[in-house]
Symmetry: C2
Subunit: 222 residues, 2 copies
């Protein structure tokens, strides 16, 4: 059995949870907060980051969400998520990077810092940083609107790892109150479809201690 | 012909230049400074980052260094750089991520900010940030020493994209005076072998305007 080290609001772990569920790979969860990581965890991943996935029976340990995604793409044929020609696969991977790196740096990381880490440290959030993250979110959703206007799914004609990466980042930002859907009907429609998938349910019902999502977060029609 | 948009001290572009040279794929260079990027460049890559590779004849545009690396791995069989079993490939990819993300964030990015961007902006460097980057570099080189002690190349028995990612980051940090090799004989030996490869030569002779590397930077025996 696979064991995924993660914490509830880690967007990269959410991407892998969605991927494994969509590919019907069973897994258990182990809670690991990277800001309070144990020596055991640094031994699993010297980068000190979640997610890390472990299969003790097979003696396999894989850190890094993109390395994990490529591994399951290579070893589990069903429901491919990095599919198509080499050029189409490149389009999927560049969009995964756009959400993993740019959306994360611009939106998810500052929201996690202001609304989660500072709560843990009992510091007040910086309202300027929060406003800026929400402004950056609008820019990213404008681009997502444009993608969804031009193709059925984020990277092309079928659902791919790019959809999972986008939904994972957006779900954490939405949990932390950083997403204003007004004016983003295409993205909202795409995300509503996503929220209703069985793979998404466990994420929507999960809560991170003391941090409450806004009322619309887990509603399937908003 | 492939055209790679890059600037001389972009570590991610250096990784792709090494990869294409090692795989004998011919390419031209186009200079693009992301901090002064044109609208044309944002049209090529909404993420606004280098590298981006373009093949006008084939109408292919690929941003993101890992998407580019996977594309050439899939389309050019010779000299594979993400090779082996799925588990070995995962090990290569997790080490690429370690250098692309952790080494970059801890070492290369602060050095580029203090020693390149601030020079362009005519601001003084922050000596505390520089000291911290050099301290973090020692920690990363300790881990690289350990890897080289335990395997012939960074990710295993053959040269891989992990070696190229590590050498690309280290070469930029070394250019910017951030690497102190004292106490890192294993890493130094591995890097000396790397510097003497034909793929590395163009990087060592290239200079970024007004920023001079330390005397040892381009020497093959140090």
């Amino acid at each position: 059995m696979w064991l995924l080290y993660q914490f509830p609001l880690c967007p990269f772990s959410r991407k892998i949870r969605l991927l494994l569920s969509e590919k019907n790979v069973p897994f258990d969860l182990a809670r690991e907060d990277p800001w309070a990581a144990s020596d055991m965890f640094f031994n699993l991943n010297p980068a000190g980051r979640t997610p890390v996935i472990v299969n003790a029976e097979k003696n396999i340990t894989i850190p890094d969400s993109r390395a994990i995604a490529e591994y399951f793409e290579e070893t589990v044929d069903r429901n491919p998520m990095i599919n198509g020609t080499a050029t189409q696969r490149a389009e999927i991977r560049r969009l995964v990077a756009l959400f993993d790196e740019n959306f994360y740096a611009d939106v998810t990381a500052p929201l996690l810092s202001e609304r989660m880490k500072k709560r843990i440290l009992r510091q007040p959030p910086d309202s300027g940083a929060l406003r800026n993250a929400m402004k950056m979110a609008h820019g990213h959703l404008d681009y997502l609107d444009w993608l969804i206007d031009n193709r059925p799914w984020v990277a092309g004609s079928t659902m791919s790892l790019a959809d999972l990466a986008a939904a994972a980042q957006i779900s954490v930002a939405d949990y932390l109150g950083g997403i204003d859907w007004a004016g983003h009907e295409q993205s909202r429609g795409w995300y509503a479809v996503f929220k209703s998938r069985p793979s998404f349910r466990p994420l929507l019902t999960e809560r991170m201690e003391t941090i409450k999502p806004p009322p619309h977060y887990a509603l399937l029609d908003s």
